[in-house]
């Protein structure tokens, strides 16, 4: 504590260390949040369903996605990244996961929503296995923090089936 510069340096160092500690505690406090999210997806329409020239099946869907992710937000949440994946099994792959739609939710107010949309990303199979296929639609979300640990979770919705014939 001998000179002005010495004292200033000591203060700033302690300040930065304390800041790191506060951020760690803020991240830790996220563990005490027990979210209760809900989601529901309806396949409104199968727009078309074709085998492409590559030999792979492709299907276009119109979806109605409604979800309430408000309880996942904490004081330490920067945004929530949510995406909807179609999941099914084929003889070649034990699990196929195809992202159909995603969204960045920047605030708690925007976390409760219902949207009608065509799938944002194409649903193309590795092969030609989609006719009559049973699949799940899973809403995944990543709670991205302002500082610290990111939490990820999902809701699996089962019981969807693709048409038996191309259209």
């Amino acid at each position: 504590m001998h000179s002005f510069g010495y004292r200033l340096n000591a203060l700033l160092t302690l300040g930065v260390t304390t800041l790191a500690l506060m951020c760690a505690m803020a991240s830790f406090s996220d563990n005490f949040n027990h979210p209760s999210p809900s989601a529901n997806v309806q396949v409104m329409n199968v727009n078309w369903f074709q085998k492409q020239s590559s030999g792979n099946d492709e299907v276009s869907l119109t979806l109605k996605i409604s979800a309430d992710l408000q309880s996942t937000f904490t004081w330490n949440t920067k945004q929530v990244f949510a995406f909807l994946a179609a999941e099914y099994e084929t003889p070649g792959n034990s699990l196929n996961q195809i992202s159909l739609w995603d969204s960045i939710i920047p605030s708690k107010e925007r976390a409760k929503f219902t949207i009608h949309t065509k799938n944002k990303y194409r649903l193309i199979d590795q092969g030609s296995n989609l006719r009559g296929k049973e699949f799940n639609l899973t809403l995944h979300w990543h709670v991205m923090p302002k500082t610290g640990k990111m939490f990820a979770d999902k809701i699996v919705m089962t019981g969807y089936r693709l048409p038996v014939d191309y259209r």
Binding site: M1, H2, F4, R7, L8, A10, L11, L12, L14, G15, T18, L19, L21, M22, M25, A26, S29, T74, W75, N76, K146
Partner: protein, 98 residues
């Protein structure tokens, strides 16, 4: 600053910073505002710097009594074998007062 002042300044700095940090965290947590916590903390760093870093008079309440140069010279003349600081030895030659 004198020695006591240095100690006071350091203690003041540490206590102020840590107390304000706890207060900032609790306030932010209660109000659910990360931004508020950061603002309070930034303000407290500035406040602590203003109070504990500059050389305020309150840190100079126990000044050290340095010896007068002439007294030091006199001492060294009476005790010629004792080591004498270069400053005192080559310092201004004042006529010694007895």
């Amino acid at each position: 600053m004198d020695w006591q002042g240095q100690r006071l300044s350091e203690q003041l700095m540490q206590v102020m910073l840590l107390t304000f940090a706890v207060a900032a965290y609790l306030t932010g947590f209660m109000v659910n505002s990360f931004r508020l916590m950061m603002l309070i903390f930034a303000g407290s760093v500035v406040l602590t710097a203003l109070i504990s870093v500059p050389n305020w008079p309150l840190f100079d309440r126990h000044p050290l009594k340095w010896l007068e140069p002439s007294v030091a010279e006199e001492f060294s003349r009476e005790h010629p074998q004792k080591p004498v600081s270069a400053l005192a030895a080559s310092g201004k030659k004042k006529s010694s007062k007895k």
